[in-house]
């Protein structure tokens, strides 16, 4: 499968946070969800993809091209939505459009109007009177009206009410009808992703923990509960992270079948959801050794 975004051996260090040897790919034609706790490095990685910051070393390729030579070609094909609103507050949506539209040759005014209608966005109202949900919708409309091949969104759904969130997801699914389109979005509200994400990339403390198809994660990862007596040096190896309490242990595994075979009926095995996977990898860092 073709990669739209390719980060290779990226190093980037800040005073109290660093990314070391990070590599990741985003596949064309699919929705990739980028998950991780606050401060795990999601925004940093997305800024690297947008060329807002540059890596200390390593390679960033977008559509197979380099920013140093093809900055404009790349950015023409990207639509972006950032978590902080970067719209001009005193402008109306109509004025904002007049500002953004000339930046893109492929801008389609009819599409812009169609989206505004559909999302019930008022054109002649100033941005600073917009609610959080409206601002996000406005950003999305701006990002989509030049029909980008790649949509990069940083926490687009944070703080949105359920109705707007639903509208938002439906719009993205419409975009994905075209197999040339790719979406990369970060979030920490995992339930937003469940209906649309094809792939999940999980980052923790600046490291990519895994990057897999969602169904693969659902099939393989499991939460295991059992009595403490079952744990010894050998059996502990089957788990990625273990939490011990007075009444037993709770652990995360990435091999559902193996646990079933090894422990049979002695433990309770339940499918792990993304939130549990995130929680365990955050809590038991010493124990985490993902493949």
């Amino acid at each position: 499968m073709e990669n739209v975004i390719e980060l290779k051996n990226i190093y980037k260090s800040y005073k109290n946070f660093q990314i070391e040897d990070l590599s990741l790919q985003v596949k064309k034609g699919f929705v990739t969800g980028f998950i991780g706790a606050n401060g795990a490095g999601k925004s940093t990685v997305m800024k690297l993809m947008m060329n807002l910051i540059r890596p200390d070393s390593g390679e960033v390729k977008m559509f197979g091209m380099d920013y140093s030579k093809h900055e404009k070609e790349i950015k023409k094909r990207i639509g972006f939505v950032f978590d902080d609103d970067i719209l001009y507050k005193e402008l109306t949506l109509h004025d904002m459009k007049k500002l953004i539209a000339p930046c893109y040759k492929q801008w389609q005014d009819s599409l812009f109007r169609e989206y505004c209608d559909r999302l019930e966005l008022p054109l002649n109202q100033k941005m600073n009177t917009f609610s959080k949900g409206m601002k996000m919708k406005a950003s999305l409309v701006m990002a989509l009206s030049h029909q980008p091949d790649l949509l990069i969104m940083d926490e687009p759904t944070a703080g949105l009410d359920p109705i707007v969130r639903r509208q938002f997801i439906e719009l993205l699914q419409d975009v994905m009808l075209d197999e040339e389109k790719t979406i990369f979005l970060s979030t920490h509200i995992i339930s937003d992703l469940a209906p649309i994400a094809d792939f999940i990339t999980f980052i923790n403390s600046g490291e990519i923990v895994f990057s897999k198809a969602l169904h693969e994660i659902e099939e393989k990862y499991a939460i295991v509960r059992g009595s403490l007596e079952l744990l010894d040096r050998d059996t502990e190896q089957y788990f990625l992270s273990i939490k011990r309490t007075d009444v037993g242990f709770e652990a995360l595994t990435s091999d559902y079948q193996q646990i079933k075979e090894v422990f049979q009926d002695e433990v309770i095995v339940e499918k792990a959801n993304l939130e549990e996977i995130m929680y365990y990898s955050k809590g038991g860092q010493g124990n985490v050794a993902f493949d």
């Binding site: 034609g29 699919f30 929705v31 997801i169 439906e170 699914q173 419409d174 994905m176 009808l177 075209d178 197999e179 209906p195 649309i196 994400a197 094809d198 792939f199 198809a213 969602l214 169904h215 659902e218 099939e219 009926d265």
Partner: protein, 124 residues
């Protein structure tokens, strides 16, 4: 064509899609040459990810129920009655093996399972 999926079912969503399309083939609702919705259209309509419908279609294709033409879409394949029967028997066998495995976990004996089966069979 109706496809109804449940988000709370134990069955994976791609499997639900697969089974329902198969059922429609078995029942004759879908016939040879019928067009299926595109993977992306179906994903949008069901509010599931593209990779889910893609997997369902890929498996249906592998099992010979559908075929795809690049740029045109997916269609119901010609169904050989013998093959269908064979396939159905295989499915039944798989399910029975699963029933037996689950029963063993619970410690149900063979006569107990048989008795249960009889009751259910007559009720249907």
């Amino acid at each position: 064509m109706d496809i109804l999926i449940s988000n709370h079912s134990k069955e994976a969503i791609y499997n639900q899609i697969k089974y329902q399309i198969k059922e429609k083939v078995f029942s004759g609702e879908l016939k040879e040459g019928d067009t299926l919705p595109s993977m992306r259209q179906l994903a949008r309509d069901l509010h599931v990810s593209v990779i889910t419908t893609k997997r369902a279609y890929e498996e249906l294709e592998k099992e010979g129920f559908i075929y795809s033409i690049v740029g045109k879409g997916s269609f119901i394949a010609e169904q050989n009655p013998e093959v269908i029967k064979e396939k159905k028997l295989t499915t039944i066998e798989e399910k029975l093996i699963e029933v037996i495995a689950n029963s063993k976990e619970l410690g149900l004996s063979l006569p107990e399972i048989k008795e249960w089966m009889t009751i259910l069979y007559e009720e249907e």
